[in-house]
């Protein structure tokens, strides 16, 4: 499957209290968006304003809302970010890394579990040896089972997994990920990263082209590692389509933000929901100026 690059993607970090930049209390958001209906309402507004896709972790309430919105806006795509590291890390604190993976598997539906169980049984030696890539491959199955009916055109590897594998030079995980996404899930592989300036040279060294990168790109340089200038310079030599994240690093994104991205040939960005008033106008402005 060849996915075409989107323009405006709705992020769900704010809706679920996982924000990185500060304005108001996250509790206000968590309280408001505890019901899938409220999330669906934001999705509806976003889709009506022109959002092309929603990027999200495997979170039941978000997926329920997305399925509801797709009844009205069937063209709204989903970009899964897998695995849900935030939930996983929390469980790893209590149950250890392997224990957390086991718990995740135990939470699956029986049918999916059976399917994965058959594949998992074939991988039993790897599981018993705690082979990281085997465990990750099972996690891919587990996480994407929730997204199956939404038919995602691109799936992103969570930035903490990307960056951990990058730091450890785990090329085989990236190869496995690309192969699994294309061959088993018939979708395009994307990598989310907070360390673009480290990742792009490594992918080149490994001769591993990745069609989509989801990464912070903003005029303030927030999370553009190791530096904004290096990320900008590398972008010019990368063949990947970049979806800019953290465009709201210091303030609500505005005309300057979209022009900054356009000047660097970035045509897609993640927009987070901050408030009802600025939400739709921001999406429309981004849509117009990124396409410009």
């Amino acid at each position: 499957m060849n996915a075409s690059p989107p323009q405006v993607v709705l992020g769900t970090a704010n809706l679920t209290g996982n924000r990185l930049v500060g304005r108001d209390s996250p509790v206000d958001f968590v309280e408001r968006f505890q019901a899938p209906m409220e999330i669906a309402s934001v999705f509806n507004d976003a889709a009506a304003a022109g959002v092309d896709a929603v990027a999200t972790l495997n979170q039941l309430d978000v997926l329920a809302a997305l399925k509801k919105t797709r009844q009205t806006f069937p063209g709204l795509q989903v970009y899964p970010i897998i695995p849900n590291v935030i939930g996983y890390v929390r469980e790893a604190t209590d149950y250890g890394l392997v224990g957390a993976a086991r718990r995740r598997i135990q939470q699956m539906a029986l049918v999916d579990l059976l399917k994965i169980g058959i594949r998992g049984a074939l991988k039993a030696p790897g599981v018993l040896k705690r082979d990281f890539n085997t465990l990750m491959s099972i996690l891919f199955d587990v996480e994407l089972a929730s997204f199956k009916s939404l038919k995602p055109p691109v799936v992103f590897l969570h930035p903490q997994i990307t960056d951990l594998a990058l730091a450890f030079g785990n090329r085989s995980l990236f190869e496995l990920y690309v192969r699994t996404m294309r061959e088993r899930f018939h979708t395009e592989p994307g990598l989310a990263t907070n360390n673009l300036g480290w990742l792009v040279p490594k992918l080149k060294e490994w001769n591993l082209p990745i069609p989509f990168l989801l990464t912070p790109f903003n005029p303030s340089g927030f999370l553009m590692k190791p530096s904004r200038a290096e990320c900008e310079a590398l972008l010019a030599s990368s063949s990947s389509a970049v979806i800019a994240d953290k465009v709201d690093a210091t303030a609500d994104p505005g005309e300057d933000t979209w022009r900054y991205l356009r000047a660097r040939n970035i045509r897609a960005a993640i927009i987070e929901f901050w408030n009802d008033k600025s939400f739709a106008p921001t999406i429309k402005q981004a849509k117009g100026l990124l396409a410009g």
Partner: protein
């Protein structure tokens, strides 16, 4: 290293300078066309002069030759300087000597000569700053001391033989940003005027009539050349680890203000010190759980560290970590690691109750030790750990990573600047949505972890309060269990510090709405208020004070983050990166780490007082 004087165009003087016991020659001499472009003279000095020096080395039996070239020396740069330096490089490559060629980007640093000194003088005097070209060309300015380090490192490193290395600073910046950074470091603000290339060429032609022109035709010819040099090869081969631009400029101008002191430092054999301070640290990590992996990932990208051992009593965990790509040798015990690997420093990432038994033999072997927080499971344990330091001079640190978070660092600077006037009252909170049912594991066993939310998470907040206000004077606290069977899930306390400031602490890991831990401190001073949390600082001052303006000022985390790598921005990743970088640097330079065990002991005293107060009432320290 010794400086010897000779004339590149006078071969006998070169042979005399190269007489025994010279083992190696570093060739930095060249004519730069800084004042006048003269191709014939440049060719004589930069090409024939280099050949003369190479021949003198051969004649005197000197085998090692380090050529300091330039980023300008490439086929695309048509300037006289570039062409002649490139020809000089070729002469070196064709010689039979064991050579290394270093190609630095724009060099800056203390000193009154050279292009950078000229730029600074110009910036100091002109009312409007001329930017030659668009100002967007990329350069990687390198501090002169970092270049010196590289030369010294290469000289003793066989891996560099016959190779050419690009050298630059840590930051890749546009030329315009470089100028802005210089102005910022000199606390000046000036408008810019952009001169297009044809205008620059015209000016250069006119200036060529001057004895000491501000720029020459050669300078203009290099203006459309990016210097996006990659320093990866230098990092990998000899651990090149240059400083950032902001840090380098600040040191440059500090040195200039005290040039006599700077000279003295150089005369004292500063270069030898630099060599020691640059040595890559061999690191072992004990405990391969979540924190062990986090530190391993950061240490894997730090050029100044090399992981030489992974230690865990669970062998299957070792195998698991190896399948993640981490190829360092695995050992089932620290003794085995120390027997088989050369270790300079150890990261201990095991439960708190194991810290003392693990740290003791390490300290006795004079190894540098980083302990994850908290220092120990009890005050007695923490004291025993600090007692290990008697008559020892190891580098020690404890993992209170918020002490390295740029947001809290800046908040500390504001408080210590006195801008808030007399500090009066504060309130502080730390909330997390983690425990909503009884949980198992060492964290929830007070004998192993030291307690519940306070020992495991709120210790970070206590550390911040200690850094802001100093030692604690008294505490009156209550703790409560909500879901846990053995440890507290929530605590509230009234704290009073030695400096007179008093306030509240409220904390819980059983509060919904905080999927990621949130810390907040609000401080009321006599001259304003300060609010700081993990993502921003807000300051309101009654009147302007020093660098801080009257009214509201907000700083977002994004404006302060300078870490080169961030594995976990959600969990304060820049703090962890800075923490590891600080510890490794402290090990290299044998300096005190930013957050030492003694700081950890202070936090442990605060925790102990808080827990005692929960059963005894008000506790005074």
């Amino acid at each position: 290293m010794e400086i010897r004087y000779a004339d590149l165009l006078d071969p006998p003087s070169l042979r005399a300078a190269a007489e025994s016991p010279v083992r190696a020659v570093v060739h930095c001499a060249a004519t730069t066309s800084e004042t006048k472009v003269d191709y014939a003279q440049s060719f004589r000095v930069n090409v024939e002069g280099t050949r003369n020096l190479l021949q003198a080395c051969q004649a005197q039996g000197i085998d090692r030759f380090i050529m300091v070239s330039t980023q300008s020396a490439n086929e695309q740069n048509p300037s006289t300087y570039a062409r002649t330096k490139l020809a000089g490089d070729l002469a070196v490559k064709e010689s039979p000597l064991a050579y290394t060629i270093l190609k630095p980007s724009t060099i800056y640093g203390p000193g009154s000569k050279g292009l950078f000194a000229k730029m600074v003088r110009l910036l100091d005097t002109v009312p409007v700053v001329p930017i030659l070209g668009s100002g967007s060309r990329l350069i990687r300015p390198i501090h002169v001391f970092d270049l010196c380090d590289a030369i010294l490192e290469c000289e003793g490193c066989d891996q560099t033989l016959g190779k050419t290395y690009d050298l630059g600073g840590r930051d890749l910046v546009s030329y315009e940003d470089f100028i802005r950074s210089i102005l910022h470091a000199r606390r000046k603000k000036k408008p810019f005027v952009y001169l297009s290339l044809p205008v620059c060429r015209a000016f250069a032609a006119a200036f060529s009539l001057l004895k000491n022109p501000p720029f020459t035709r050669d300078n203009v010819l290099g203006l459309n050349q990016n210097q996006v040099c990659s320093i990866d090869a230098a990092r990998n081969d000899f651990g090149f680890s240059p400083r950032g631009l902001r840090e380098g400029l600040s040191q440059t101008f500090a040195a200039a203000e005290s040039s006599a002191a700077a000279t003295e430092v150089m005369d004292r054999g500063h270069k030898q010190e630099i060599r020691k301070a640059q040595a890559v640290q061999n690191v072992a990590i004990i405990g391969l759980g979540k924190m062990g992996l986090l530190h391993a990932s950061i240490l894997s990208v730090l050029p100044s560290a090399r992981i030489v051992g992974l230690v865990d009593q669970d062998e299957s965990l070792g195998a698991h970590v190896r399948t993640m790509g981490l190829k360092a040798p695995f050992f089932k015990s620290m003794d085995a690691a120390l027997e088989q690997a050369s270790v300079d420093a150890v990261f201990v990432c095991t439960p708190a109750f194991t810290h003392y038994p693990i740290a003791r033999p390490l300290v006795e072997k004079n190894l540098n030790v980083f302990l994850e927080k908290p220092l120990a499971e009890s005050l007695d344990g923490a004291r025993k750990i600090c007692d290990l330091l008697k008559d020892r001079s190891i580098v020690h640190a404890v993992g209170y990573m918020k002490g390295h978070s740029p947001v809290y660092e800046r908040a500390g600077e504001i408080v210590s600047s006195g801008a808030l006037g007399k500090e009066i009252l504060f309130r502080s909170t730390l909330y997390l949505s983690q425990v909503f049912a009884p949980k198992r594991g060492w964290i929830y066993d007070p004998k192993k972890s030291g307690g519940g939310i306070v020992a495991n998470s709120t210790c970070h907040l206590l550390f911040l309060l200690y850094r802001l206000f100093g030692p604690l004077r008294s505490v009156c606290a209550q703790t409560r269990r909500l879901h846990s069977e053995q440890v507290e899930d929530a605590a509230t306390a009234l704290l009073e510090f030695g400096n007179g400031v008093a306030g509240t602490l409220d904390t819980s890991w059983s509060t919904p709405g905080y999927p990621v831990e949130q810390t907040e401190i609000f401080l009321q001073g006599s001259a304003g208020i300060l609010e700081v949390n993990d993502t921003r600082i807000r300051l309101n001052l009654n009147q302007s004070t020093g660098a801080y303006a009257k009214g509201w000022t907000t700083w977002q985390r994004a404006e302060m983050d300078t870490a080169d790598f961030d594995l976990s921005p959600q969990y304060g990743g820049e703090g962890y990166y800075n923490e590891d970088l600080n510890f490794i640097k402290a090990c290299q330079q044998k300096q005190t780490a930013r957050v030492s065990w003694f700081d950890g002991l202070k936090v442990q005293e605060m925790m102990d007082a808080l827990y005692r107060s929960a059963t005894e009432g008000r506790v005074t320290l």
